[in-house]
Amino acid sequence: MHLNVILAQTMLGLSAGVFYAMLSLGLAIIFGLLNVINFAHGALYMLGAFVALIGYSYIGPWLGYDDFHLGFWWALIVAPVVVGCFGMLIERFMLRRLYQFDHIYGLLLTFGIALILQGLMSRYFNVSGTAYGGQPDSLSGIVNLGFMYFPTYRLFAIVVSIIVCVVTWFVIERTSLGAVLRAGVENPRLVEAFGINVPRLITLTFGFGVGLAALAGVLAAPIYSVSPLMGANLIITVFAVVVIGGMGSIGGAIVTGLALGLVQGLTQALYPPASETVIFFIMVIVLLIRPAGLFGKDTAS
C-alpha cells in the first residue's frame, strides 16, 4: 500500500479516535471516581449535539426572534454547561440513591435514562439526521496536507479534542484538586474531615464527565448529521474502548481511544467489512490476556 494512503487513513483514524478518546475519558472519570457505569453517556453526547443544533436553528423561531442563531463558538461553551447541569441533576436526585447497591443498579438506571432521552428526541426530530448549519465559515475550507486533502474543520476538532484530553488528564492526575478527588473516593470520611464537601465534589465530577460528552457532541455536529441515535451507535464502541484501556484509567482511556481510532481507520482501508468488528475482536483478545485492560490495575486479586 502506498505511503500516502496509509498517512491519509491515519488522519481519518485520528479524527474518529479523538471522539472515542473524549467519550471514553468521560466514562473513565465517572467510573473511576463514582464507580458508576454510565450507560447514558452516548445519549448525553447526542444531547450536546442537539443543544448546538437547537441553539442554531430552532431556538430563535421558538422565541419569536427568527434571526437569532446561537453560533458554534457559543455552543462549545453552552452545550457542555447545559448538559452538565442536567447530568448533575441526574446524579443528585437519582444516582446518589444507588451508590450503596451493586454497580448493576447504576447501569440499569443510566441505560433507562438513555432510552428515554433517545425516545423523546426521536419523537421530535428526524431519526435519519438533521444537518447542523452553524459551522463557522473560517473552518469550512479544505487543507492540502501534501498526502491528502483534509477538511479544516476535522483538523480543528482533532486539535481541540487532544488539548481537552491532555488538560483533563493533567488536572486529575497531576494537581492537588485531582488528588482531593481521588482521595474523596478512596476514603470519603477522611477527606470530609479536612472540611471538603465530598457529595458536592462527586456531583461536580459527574457533571464534568457529562460535559465532556456534550462537548464531543458539539464537535461532532458539523461532521455527522445530528440524530437521536448518534450516541447509541457510538457508545458500544466507546465501552469497548474503555474495557480495552482498563476501567477507570484516565490516561489509558485517552491513549486507547486514539489508538483504536487508528486501527479502525486502517481496517477500513485494508478490509472494510471488518471495520465495525475489529475493535471488539481486540477487546476479546485483551480480555483473554489482560482481563483488567491494557492500563488497568488488577483489582480482582
Binding site: 428526524n126 444537518a131 486533502y149 455527522y224 448518534m230 477500513q268 472494510p272 467489512p273
Partner: protein
C-alpha cells in the same frame, strides 16, 4: 335484565341486516383503507405521517364516500419491523376488515405484509419499499408495487451519467441485500453501455463516517462515485464527500436512491450537482405543483415521491371500487389491471399482472443555491425515463404467477 339483553341483540341484528342490505356489495358496509408506515423511525420523513395526510386528502377529494358508503382511514406505525407490521396487518384484515393496505416502506416489511395480505385475499399497494422481489419472485395476486423499485432507479441515473461521459465507476455499497442488488443492477447497466467499474467498497449499514471509503473512491480516479445505499447512509456520505472537496475537485457523485427529504436535510450547498432518479418532483408541471401546494398546506413540507404516490394509489383504488361496483378484492384487482392511470403523479400508467405499476421516471439534478428560488426549489428535471426503459418488461418478469 335478560329481556333487555335479548331486545338489544334483536335490535342489533335487525340493524346489521338492514345495513347489509343497504350496501350489499361492500364487505361490512364500508370501504376501509389502512396506511401502514413508519411513524417514528428512519423513514418517517419520506413516508410516515405525510402518507397518512396524502391518503386523507385522496379520500376527501373523492368525496368521502364510495358506492353510497363512507370511506374509513386508519393508520399504524410498523416500526420498521416485519413482525410488528405482520401482526398489525393480520389484526386489520381479520378484525377491522380493512380492504386495502398502503405504505409499507422498508422491503422486509413490504414483502412480509404483501405475502400475508395476499393469502387473506386483501389488496396491498406498496408505495415505500424498493425491492423488485415484490413483483418478481415473490409477486402475488393482490400485491401492487406503485412508486419505484431497485431496477428503475439505477437505469435512469446510470444511463444518463454514462452517456454524459461518466465512464468509470466506483461503488460505495451498503453491505446488505438492498445495497448489493442496487450495485449489481447499476453495474450491469454501466457495463452494457461501455462503461467500467473500477472499484467497489462495502460499508456496513449505518456507517457514520464514510471518509475512509470516500478517500478510496477518490484515489481510484473514477469519474463517478456511486452511492448504492439509502437514507442516513446517503446523507452522511454526500455530506462528507462535500467536506473533503471530492466533487469540487471534479469527481461526480451519483445517489442510487435519494428522496426529496434527503436533499432538504443536506441543504443545496452540500448536495448541489447530485443526480438521481425519482418517480415524482413537486415542481415538474402544473398539476404536480397544484396538488403539492395543497399537500404543503396540510403537512408543512413538500411531498416526497412516496407521499405523492400514496395519494395517487388511494385515488385509483377508490375509482376501481366505484367502477367495479364492489370492494371484492378479485373484482377490484381485475378493474385496476384494466385501467389506464392518469393524474398529477402518473401518466398512462398500467398495473401489470405481476403487480408492477410501470410508469415514467425522471432524472433530476440538485440545484445550486444560486439556481434556487425558494425553500423547496431544490431539483431540476433533466430528462424523462420512459416506463418501458425504467422497469423490467412483463415479458422478462420472473413472477411465478405468470407461468401457468
Amino acid at each position: 335484565m335478560k329481556k333487555t339483553l335479548l331486545t338489544a341483540v334483536c335490535a342489533a341484528s335487525v340493524l346489521a341486516f338492514s345495513s347489509a342490505n343497504a350496501a350489499q356489495d361492500l364487505s361490512n358496509g364500508d370501504v376501509k383503507i389502512g396506511v401502514l408506515t413508519d411513524m417514528s423511525g428512519v423513514y418517517k420523513a419520506l413516508e410516515g405521517p405525510g402518507a397518512v395526510t396524502a391518503a386523507r386528502m385522496a379520500i376527501d377529494d373523492f368525496g368521502g364516500s364510495v358506492l353510497g358508503k363512507k370511506i374509513e382511514l386508519i393508520s399504524a406505525d410498523h416500526q420498521e419491523k416485519p413482525d410488528v407490521a405482520s401482526s398489525i396487518a393480520r389484526k386489520w384484515i381479520d378484525q377491522e376488515h380493512v380492504d386495502m393496505l398502503v405504505g409499507m416502506d422498508n422491503s422486509a416489511v413490504g414483502l412480509a405484509v404483501q405475502g400475508l395480505a395476499s393469502a387473506k385475499h386483501t389488496i396491498t399497494i406498496n408505495t415505500g419499499a424498493g425491492s423488485t422481489a415484490l413483483t418478481e419472485d415473490q409477486c402475488s395476486k393482490y400485491g401492487i408495487h406503485y412508486v419505484y423499485d431497485t431496477h428503475a432507479l439505477p437505469v435512469g441515473t446510470a444511463t444518463a451519467i454514462v452517456k454524459n461521459g461518466g465512464k468509470s465507476w466506483f461503488f460505495i455499497t451498503a453491505d446488505y441485500a438492498f445495497g448489493h442488488s442496487l450495485r449489481d443492477n447499476t453495474s450491469a447497466i454501466v457495463k452494457s453501455l461501455g462503461g467500467t467499474v473500477v472499484g467497489d467498497v462495502e460499508a456496513p449499514l449505518g456507517t457514520s463516517d464514510f471518509s475512509s471509503y470516500l478517500l478510496q473512491a477518490s484515489s481510484s480516479g473514477a469519474d463517478v462515485i456511486a452511492l448504492a445505499n439509502a437514507g442516513g447512509d446517503t446523507v452522511n456520505a454526500v455530506k462528507q464527500a462535500h467536506s473533503f472537496g471530492i466533487v469540487s475537485r471534479g469527481q461526480e457523485l451519483a445517489g442510487m436512491l435519494v428522496f426529496l427529504t434527503d436533499v432538504k436535510a443536506l441543504g443545496l450547498k452540500t448536495a448541489k450537482g447530485l443526480e438521481f432518479t425519482t418517480a415524482f418532483y413537486w415542481d415538474r408541471d402544473k398539476a404536480s405543483r397544484e396538488w403539492s401546494k395543497r399537500f404543503f398546506k396540510q403537512h408543512g413540507a413538500m411531498p416526497t415521491m412516496v407521499q405523492a404516490g400514496v395519494y395517487s394509489a388511494v385515488t385509483h383504488y377508490l375509482q376501481a371500487v366505484k367502477a367495479a361496483g364492489t370492494d371484492n378484492s378479485d373484482a377490484v384487482r381485475a378493474q385496476l389491471g384494466k385501467m389506464t392511470l392518469n393524474d398529477f403523479f402518473v401518466h398512462d400508467g398500467h398495473i401489470e399482472a405481476n403487480g408492477l405499476m410501470a410508469h415514467d421516471m425522471y432524472l433530476v439534478k440538485v440545484k445550486s443555491p444560486e439556481q434556487s428560488h425558494g425553500d423547496w426549489d431544490l431539483l431540476k428535471v433533466v430528462s424523462t425515463i420512459p416506463a418501458k426503459k425504467a422497469y423490467i418488461p412483463i415479458s422478462q418478469s420472473a413472477c411465478p404467477l405468470l407461468k401457468h
